[in-house]
């Protein structure tokens, strides 16, 4: 993972608030995205992630608060410099991949080299295909190419892999990693914790319009968990010494322990079969449940 400490603050969010009538979607959040970093905004559906990103894109006006890009409060000129991929983007009907790239390219002062974009987003084969006939993965790659069409320094990706099959998701992650390697700054929203863990240098976990935890995935996990997760098929067990807590996860029982040796010993002592046992490190999913008491998986 590239060092996340090196970059200077590229995007700075200060006390951002958005209310819709009496409902507060975003409640005074602040964070900083450093240059070259992949910053993840995590949270369940309805946490306020998209509203936050839309305020930065100028789609929604903030109720209060400030957004600074390179030290200046953003206005519509910021749109020349930012690359944007929406969660749901409709394109015009009856246009091919190439038509769309040409179209969006013409809207910017400093368009990227389209040929290069086509290769990097693997669009060569579908270049002259009507966009309505693209697969989910191809469509996402086209939308990423559109987001990169103005050679942006910073790219907003709003839930880019929602609805993709696992293979397409992995491919998309590879593309994002390439962008990072090129030094682009990325702001990513997702409700997939594995995605955040795979891609992000720093994350902010949102719930009900607040940021409830922020830091690098590693830091966060260290801070909140000094333990292992032991998974065994679902059964009744006693809370013996070494076992901190247990939690049911579908057909499995997850045992949280800070003293693995002791926990395993006592499980054997209790006569629990360990044939199907798995041991893993806690992940962001566990962290989220720990922080919010809510399951995040969909």
């Amino acid at each position: 993972m590239p060092s996340q400490e090196s970059g200077f603050p590229l995007l700075k969010i200060e006390s951002l608030v958005k209310t819709f009538g009496t409902f507060t979607a975003v409640d005074g959040i602040s964070f900083t995205v450093k240059q070259g970093q992949c910053f993840g905004l995590l949270g369940p559906n309805g946490a306020g992630k998209t509203t936050t990103i839309e305020m930065m894109e100028g789609i929604t006006a903030a109720t209060s608060g400030h957004i600074f890009y390179k030290g200046r409060e953003i206005d519509r000129t910021f749109l020349q410099e930012v690359g944007i991929q929406f969660q749901h983007t409709a394109l015009q009907d009856f246009l091919t991949v190439k038509d769309n790239l040409d179209f969006f390219s013409a809207l910017y002062h400093k368009p990227a080299d389209i040929k290069h974009l086509i290769e990097r987003c693997a669009l060569t084969e579908v270049l002259h295909r009507d966009t309505s006939k693209l697969s989910g993965g191809q469509r996402q790659r086209l939308l990423l190419a559109i987001a990169l069409i103005n050679s942006p320094e910073i790219v907003f990706l709003d839930e880019p892999t929602t609805g993709l099959d696992p293979q397409s998701r992995r491919n998309f992650w590879d593309l994002v990693r390439e962008l990072k390697a090129e030094g682009k700054t990325i702001l990513l929203t997702t409700h997939y914790m594995d995605e955040a863990q795979a891609l992000c240098d720093e994350i902010a976990i949102m719930d009900h319009g607040h940021i409830i935890a922020m830091g690098s995935p590693k830091q966060l996990l260290q801070k909140h968990f000094n333990m292992k997760v032991v998974r065994i098929p679902l059964q009744e067990i006693r809370l013996t010494p070494g076992i901190t807590s247990t939690r049911q996860d579908g057909e499995w029982l997850e045992i949280h322990t800070e003293k693995l040796d002791q926990a395993l010993e006592s499980l054997i002592h209790e006569g629990v079969s360990l044939n199907q046992m798995e041991i893993r490190n806690p992940d962001l999913e566990d962290l989220f449940i720990e922080l919010t008491g809510k399951q995040l998986r969909h």
């Binding site: 789609i59 929406f86 409709a90 015009q92 009907d93 246009l95 179209f103 809207l107």
Partner: protein, 332 residues
């Protein structure tokens, strides 16, 4: 400018590749006009129309009792003579000290009436001949149908498309680009103007091949009027679609705008004898002015001075629609 041209190109491509819509846009008006031409080609007359300047009382008993003659009274000589030239009446009589009659030299009915008049033993009438092609219903209705087609294409073509863009989020995507609302709206206007003018020219030529219709005015003026009328209709379409998100609501509003115009703007029948309230309402509809201007050019050969009020009204309406439309426009 680059962005504007790109918008224009993308929208035109989208329209041209939508084969079903394209076919419909060209074929519908052609079929409509053709079927009208066929339906109204057999209007056999059962009587002869004779116009009389002044009161019908002055007519001789003999003439009045002639079977199959319908007499219509006219106050203004100029209008009545025009009706003769357009075959709307077969003969015009002026009674009094210097009796006079007018017939159209190209009208068989006029010839027969002349013989009737001479054979009726009336006093000596002085003869005047006028010329002019007959204005059939199709000649009268065709300018209106062309204008109405422009209205439908502009209102639904622009209004519906923008509401669809807004509903599916394409407008929101555009808002996240440096594009301004003004650039977007003007590109939509110009794109539709190019398309509708091309289609109208094709439809016009198509009609010209199959029907021999009336066009005695200036083609340049007709083209100019069609551009102005189209701009007005597109502006109204942009205004109707400036805020709506649902296609169903848009459909309702567009129908609400088009139906009164289709009925009250004098496309199908003249409003001359209509109640004043209806006439006043018709004046508020842009299609009325559009139809009046094109009809005046095509059937009467009107010049720019004669249709200036209509052209000015259309321009003012366009400005108002565009101004309000861009002020209340929303992307999402």
């Amino acid at each position: 400018m680059k962005a504007f041209l790109a918008l224009l190109k993308a929208r035109n491509l989208e329209f041209l590749r939508d084969r079903s819509a394209l076919t419909w846009n060209v074929l519908f008006p052609l079929l409509l006009i053709m079927s009208f031409a066929v339906i109204f080609s057999n209007d056999t007359k059962l009587s002869y129309k004779v116009g009389v300047l002044g009161s019908l009382e002055n007519l001789s008993q003999n003439l009045r009792e002639t079977k199959y003659l319908d007499f219509v009274s006219f106050d203004e000589k100029e209008i009545a003579i025009k009706k003769v030239s357009q075959h709307q009446i077969d003969m015009l009589l002026e009674l009094g000290e210097k009796p006079h009659y007018w017939i159209n030299s190209t009208s068989p009915n006029g010839y027969i009436l002349e013989r009737v008049l001479k054979g009726s033993g009336e006093q000596q009438f002085e003869k005047s001949e006028v010329t002019g092609k007959e204005i059939r219903y199709i000649d009268w209705a065709l300018p209106g149908i062309l204008a109405m087609n422009i209205m439908f294409s502009c209102l639904f073509g622009v209004g519906y498309v923008i509401v669809r863009y807004r509903k599916n989020g394409f407008l929101k995507r555009l808002k996240a680009t440096p594009l301004s609302a003004y650039q977007f709206l003007v590109a939509q206007l110009v794109s539709r103007l190019l398309l509708i003018m091309s289609i109208t020219v094709i439809v016009y030529i198509g009609c010209d091949i199959f029907i021999d219709f009336h066009m005695i005015g200036s083609y340049v003026l007709l083209f100019f009027t069609a551009i102005l009328g189209s701009i007005c209709m597109i502006s109204l379409g942009l205004l109707s679609a400036s805020r709506i998100r649902s296609e169903e609501l848009a459909g309702g509003i567009l129908n609400l705008a088009t139906w009164p115009m289709m009925i009250l703007s004098g496309v199908w029948f003249s409003l001359e004898g209509a109640p004043d309230v209806i006439k006043l309402m018709a004046q508020a509809l842009p299609l009325t002015h559009f139809v009046d201007a094109t009809r005046a050019i095509m059937t009467e050969g009107a010049g720019i001075a004669e249709i200036a009020p209509e052209l000015i009204t259309l321009s003012i309406m366009s400005l108002i629609f565009l101004l309000i439309g861009s002020l209340i426009f929303r992307w999402n």
